[in-house]
Symmetry: none
Subunit: 194 residues, 4 copies
């Protein structure tokens, strides 16, 4: 039941927003009563906190695996990390949207906790960039932090428009984004002849 409540809450928070979703909405769709909701959760907020934590912790855990993987080059790690973010948005789009929209409604303490974890995620990404700069896989001409923010914006923002509708997969999108970041879009004039 706890899980059913969580799932239905995700659906509704995504659809109508956290504030706009009433507990009545949630329990009505599950054909239980408000009492049941409060048997499993102490407040509406607590549900939101669970959603946030599960999302960012899932990301961090998978990111850790990428970082630890010794067989990957930094370019590959970059790609994998981008893909990780996008695939998460693909498979857990609702949670992704909720997580990007509804931070304000958490208690301060939880906001802090979540923000710390997000920062960790960003710093891990910066590690990949820095490592790549050292191994000369990446050039030094862009500050690591700006790059990381740019990347996070690019990928995270896709929760706003990206739907796997057959036309474009998360894999392809990850490839495109990696390519943009790696090679840019400038047409390099072919140095011809002589």
């Amino acid at each position: 039941m706890k899980n059913q409540i969580l799932k239905k809450s995700i659906d509704l928070f995504d659809d109508k927003g956290f504030k706009e979703t009433t507990i009545q909405d949630i329990v009505d769709q599950l054909d239980v009563t408000k009492g049941t909701f409060y048997y499993y959760f102490n407040s509406k907020q607590e549900v939101l906190r669970d959603i946030h934590l599960e999302y960012i912790e899932g990301l961090l855990q998978e990111q850790e695996e990428i970082l630890q993987n010794q067989t990957l080059s930094n370019k590959e790690k970059l790609y994998e990390n981008i893909y990780l973010t996008l695939s998460k948005i693909d498979t857990q789009g609702k949670e992704a949207r909720i997580v990007h929209r509804e931070l304000r409604h958490l208690h301060e303490d939880h906001v802090k906790q979540i923000k710390l974890k997000r920062k960790e995620y960003r710093l891990n990404f910066e590690k990949i960039i820095d490592a790549g700069k050292k191994t000369k896989e990446f050039s030094n001409h862009i500050r690591t932090d700006i790059l990381a923010f740019g990347f996070l914006g690019m990928t995270n923002y896709s929760y706003y428009w990206f739907r796997t509708d057959g036309e474009l997969t998360d894999k392809e999108l990850a490839r495109f984004y990696t390519e943009i970041i790696l090679k840019g879009i400038e047409e390099v004039p072919v140095k011809e002849g002589i």
Copy 2:
């Protein structure tokens, strides 16, 4: 007075959120009564709509000027458009954050209207890219739409973290982002010899 209400609303919507800001909050800070609010606006929503419209229409207008400017190359237009977005976030950060967070609270009709204008902004950006591809300023290896979304993500997301704190100006940030998009970050091995 109407303007004072609008300004105070922007402050509060940014600080506490649209839903969380009560009309009482707004009028209390202006030392007037609710009646006054309703004399100038028909509803709380109307204030939000005004904020949204003013923001996107401001962007569109300035974007138009860039597009029309015959003296600029497409690379330069790209940079100008990126700078436009970022400088808007710099000078109208509060509005930017509101506009990115609070779309749901508008009436459907207004949502549609706003979304259309946003699409127009994106399509205008795509025009620059397509023109650049034609003039061989930009390479063809990335789909225009994805590129546009990536750019929008990069720049728009900066409302989330970017504050002009002396360390980094909007101009610099625009330059960095343009460079990432143009040249990528891949270290190109110097073709030696012959």
Copy 3:
């Protein structure tokens, strides 16, 4: 309207208890809506606080007059103070009962505030006793504080049983209590003969 709400609240708090009285109860009897209640009071608690404050402050003010009255002996002051307490219970019996029963439901801060004022009232009473001890109006054989507590118990407790039903007036009761306290009930054997 604010006053009507206060009055009706007093009736109901006395009759059903603070916790048991709902705001719906209050407004229903006044034929207004809950919104009206909250227009005049910020919470149910605030009403209770007002009742408490008004009661004890009324007592303190009248007690002050007794204390300042130079024309009264200490015995007379004692009587007047006892009468004051009892007449208050007579004319404001409902408030008296509420005030004696419902302290717990106030916020800690207010509880402290009320308790301080109550203590002030008791200490003022002790002043009368001490003054009377000095002028030899009262004997020294009972500790002032215990006497004060005893008196307070006697009189305050009458909120529990005392109703002016024609049989016994507050004046008479005050006279009886003063007499008990002054002369006791011991039959003093008449010293006969030489």
Copy 4:
């Protein structure tokens, strides 16, 4: 277990109030579940009734012994009865406070039952006074009922302030109160001369 529940309930009712104490509170502190509570009691109310009954019946029983004791004068009986009330408050202060505060929450039937027993206790006290008046131990100048109420107020009210903190014992307090009631506090001018 039944007894543990009762004890914990007394603690909590005294501390937080009857209404404010939830069954969850009670069972949480005993590390059992609500089912257990309902195995031993049919309702929360029933617990309160038990507390009330045990308290007043204890008083009545001990009072009976005082009344029956042929070796005591009425003055002594008066003292013993006062001491009984105060010692009960001393040893069962929590119950005393509960019993004085929470009568309203019992069913009407139980309220009646309790009130009858309280009246019995008061009438028994009046018997002592009347007997003393007959034997000329007490003077006739105060109505018996008022005296009884005054006494009950004095003693019962002490649940509100009296704590055995080493400074004052229940025995001493009983002696003081008996003395006040017997001898009053008026300084009797020494009959001088022959």
